[in-house]
Amino acid sequence: MNNIGLIGMISIIVAGGTMAIGSIGPALGEARAVSQALSAIAQQPDASGTISRTLFVGLAMIESMAIYCFVVALILVFANPFWKYVIEHP
């Protein structure tokens, strides 16, 4: 297999693996954060404003990890520097 095929194959496999593995942790973390926030709101409805504000900020922080994985996967698929190098220097 030549370099182009090898780089394309590895990029796509790694991009899929990045999304699959990288979204497990944030998914578990978000589920836990939301369930805790819901039970907190159910116990203390008065504090729902503070809880939901903190929840949004926390969710964004957890989610940003999945977003990093997504950015890496997109770069691998659409803007791979090694792919460009191989195309330019055959």
Binding site: T50, R53, F56, V57, A60, M61, I62, S64, M65, I67, Y68, F70, V71, L74, I75, F78, A79
Partner: protein
């Protein structure tokens, strides 16, 4: 496929390039300036409250309340910076629904510039509040050995701010683009509505995180914000 509006070059003269990001940023700036000029024109205190004044007061009161709740300090000094960040990101994300407009926050250069603004504003407000020595003292607060981690944290949270906003907005644009080629009839509209919501939430989160970072540099006794700040450094 284009990942960001950076690669669309509209005008070039020697080494000077005007790409789509800059032009869309100018459009957002023009919309904001024109809007604020229209709203504040002929502002009076008498008579019935006009609709423009009501809009302005709603916005400023909302921003003030959020800053006060996040930082537990008086919002007066922080309002121009935080409010500008929030309004700029919110307007540039919301204009996404106009066909042909690509949000400038979907480019890493714009978000990096915004994050560097926060990076500079944190020591600025800290020095303004506590003096140079007082600000530098918080680097060696538990012990001297924590100083490298504090400095690494400053850089990593700046990077996290930039990549978070960029990734969220850019992924919205890319998903709409991919869906247009798969199921062009109805689903792109749903995803675009979701993108509007995500854009507003990200604008809010960017402003709140900037406020949390500034508050951790300006307050000495507030343990709560410092803990939030450390979670931010470690977790993102």
């Amino acid at each position: 496929m284009e990942l960001s509006p950076d690669s669309t070059i509209l005008w070039q003269w020697g080494p000077v390039r005007i790409n789509a990001t800059i032009v869309f940023t100018w459009i957002v700036m023009a919309v904001l300036s024109l809007g604020s000029w229209l709203v504040t024109r002929g502002l009076t205190n008498e008579g019935k409250m006009s609709r423009r004044r009501n809009l302005l007061e709603t916005l400023v009161t909302f921003l003030n309340d959020q800053i006060r709740a996040t930082s537990r300090q008086e919002p007066g000094r922080f309002l121009p910076f935080i409010g500008t960040l929030f309004l700029f990101i919110a307007v540039s994300d919301s204009l996404e629904i106009i066909p042909g407009f690509e949000p400038p926050t979907g480019s890493l250069s714009t978000t990096a510039a915004l994050a560097i603004c926060v990076f500079i504003a944190v020591p600025f407000y800290g020095v303004l509040q506590k003096g140079v020595l007082g600000y530098l003292k918080h680097y060696v607060k538990p012990s001297v050995f924590m100083a490298p981690f504090e400095i690494i944290g400053e850089f990593s949270r700046t990077l996290a701010l930039a990549v978070r906003l960029y990734g969220n907005i850019m992924s919205g644009t890319i998903i709409v683009g991919i869906l247009l080629s798969i199921a062009p009839l109805f689903f792109p509209i749903v995803m675009q509505a979701l993108g509007l919501l995500i854009g507003l939430i990200q604008a809010y989160i960017f402003a709140v995180l900037a406020m949390v970072y500034i508050a951790s540099a300006t307050s000495v006794q507030k343990r709560a914000e410092e803990e939030t700040n450390k979670e931010g450094k470690g977790g993102s």
